[in-house]
């Protein structure tokens, strides 16, 4: 058997995470707007899916895409972007919420990048896929987020 989990067919990934993604989006956006955001989330995931290198953290990956879509939806409506979602632990790694107290004052992209990098141990390629940007931009967002946190800590 392969030591590294191979990337499952998108159908399996979708059916496994669809209900949880919809729950998150309904909590963040309400029932009505959650439907469009649901479709947008899985279309973004589909667009990035063939760039994935391994199947680790797929749950965290899609939940962050959903969170990103929720932020965009709030932004388009001119609303505050709201609270971070409450996510239970994944694979014993620090959960999103454990970094929230540190990062919730960062701009949304930096916050997402820092949490994905240090909360979920994703590489820059995965972060780029989750945020619909490039690995370089993901690296930059992560390090400027960290610099901002350091400045605040001093």
């Amino acid at each position: 058997m392969d030591a590294v989990a191979t990337i499952p067919p998108f159908e399996s990934f979708y059916t496994e995470h669809a209900a949880e993604v919809l729950r998150l989006l309904r909590r963040r956006l309400g029932r009505e707007r959650a439907d469009d955001a649901f479709q947008e989330t899985f279309l973004r995931a589909l667009r990035a899916y063939d760039r994935l290198r391994h199947a680790d953290h797929l749950r965290a990956w899609v939940l962050v895409i959903a969170e990103r879509v929720a932020i965009d939806t709030h932004r388009r409506a001119g609303e505050p972007t709201g609270e971070l979602p409450e996510l239970p632990h994944v694979d014993g790694r620090p959960a999103y919420e454990e970094l929230a107290f540190l990062t919730d004052t960062l701009p949304p992209t930096e916050r997402a990048a820092v949490v994905l990098r240090y909360g979920y141990d994703l590489d820059y390629e995965q972060i780029a896929a989750a945020l619909d940007s490039s690995p370089d931009a993901a690296r930059q967002a992560t390090s400027s987020g960290v610099r901002r946190l350091r400045r605040r800590a001093q």
């Binding site: 990337i7 159908e11 899985f42």
Partner: protein, 186 residues
């Protein structure tokens, strides 16, 4: 909580329309039992009897790419032609085929297989000769047994030298059913 059917359907259709899928599949009910069928942007890539979806999806992911999704609408044309054929209303399929992942010998044999007309049979040896290797009857048998697109690629029309049905990947009963449908046997 499960995802409401209309929302689920809307996403599947949108994914297909966006042209981002490597393969779309559905399970089609037929008098031969459920058939799993899959299409890619190149054409029909798979029909399988007694589908074990999980195994089939992994196979598709390996051959076509990981972006495999169940999209019933993407199989409309395949479904219609299969239904017409099984009802005796259609003799020739008008579907593009995707034979990626097949070895060159298998492709040569399947090309010849596609030319065996409705209602007629040929032997494994005939097919081997037509594919350019008269002594490869046994290898032809293997290709038939692993035919990725049965029914449309009519491996049911291939019989033993003595006229016996020999075997069929989907079971002899189905082979008999199809040959009877076509009037090739009584």
């Amino acid at each position: 909580m499960t995802v409401p059917t209309d929302l689920d359907q809307r996403f599947r259709d949108a994914a297909d329309r966006a042209g981002m899928l490597d393969a779309a599949y559905d399970v089609i009910d037929s008098e031969l039992g459920p058939l799993l069928a899959a299409v890619t942007d190149r054409g029909l890539a798979r029909i399988t009897y007694d589908p074990d979806p999980e195994q089939e999806l992994e196979r598709l992911a390996r051959v076509a790419g990981t972006r495999v999704l169940r999209v019933p609408r993407a199989l409309d044309e395949t479904r219609r032609e299969l239904e017409d054929y099984l009802a005796g209303r259609r003799k020739i399929f008008d579907l593009e085929l995707d034979l990626r992942g097949q070895a060159p010998f298998a492709v040569a044999v399947l090309d010849e297989l596609a030319r065996v007309p409705y209602g007629q049979t040929a032997t494994y040896g005939d097919l081997a000769s037509r594919a350019g290797n008269p002594r490869a009857a046994r290898a032809v048998g293997m290709v038939m047994n692993r035919n990725p697109i049965p029914i449309v690629l009519p491996c049911h029309r291939i019989v033993g030298a003595s006229g016996s049905l020999v075997g069929y990947g989907g079971g002899l009963e189905r082979k008999e059913h199809l040959l009877r449908l076509e009037g090739a046997i009584l």
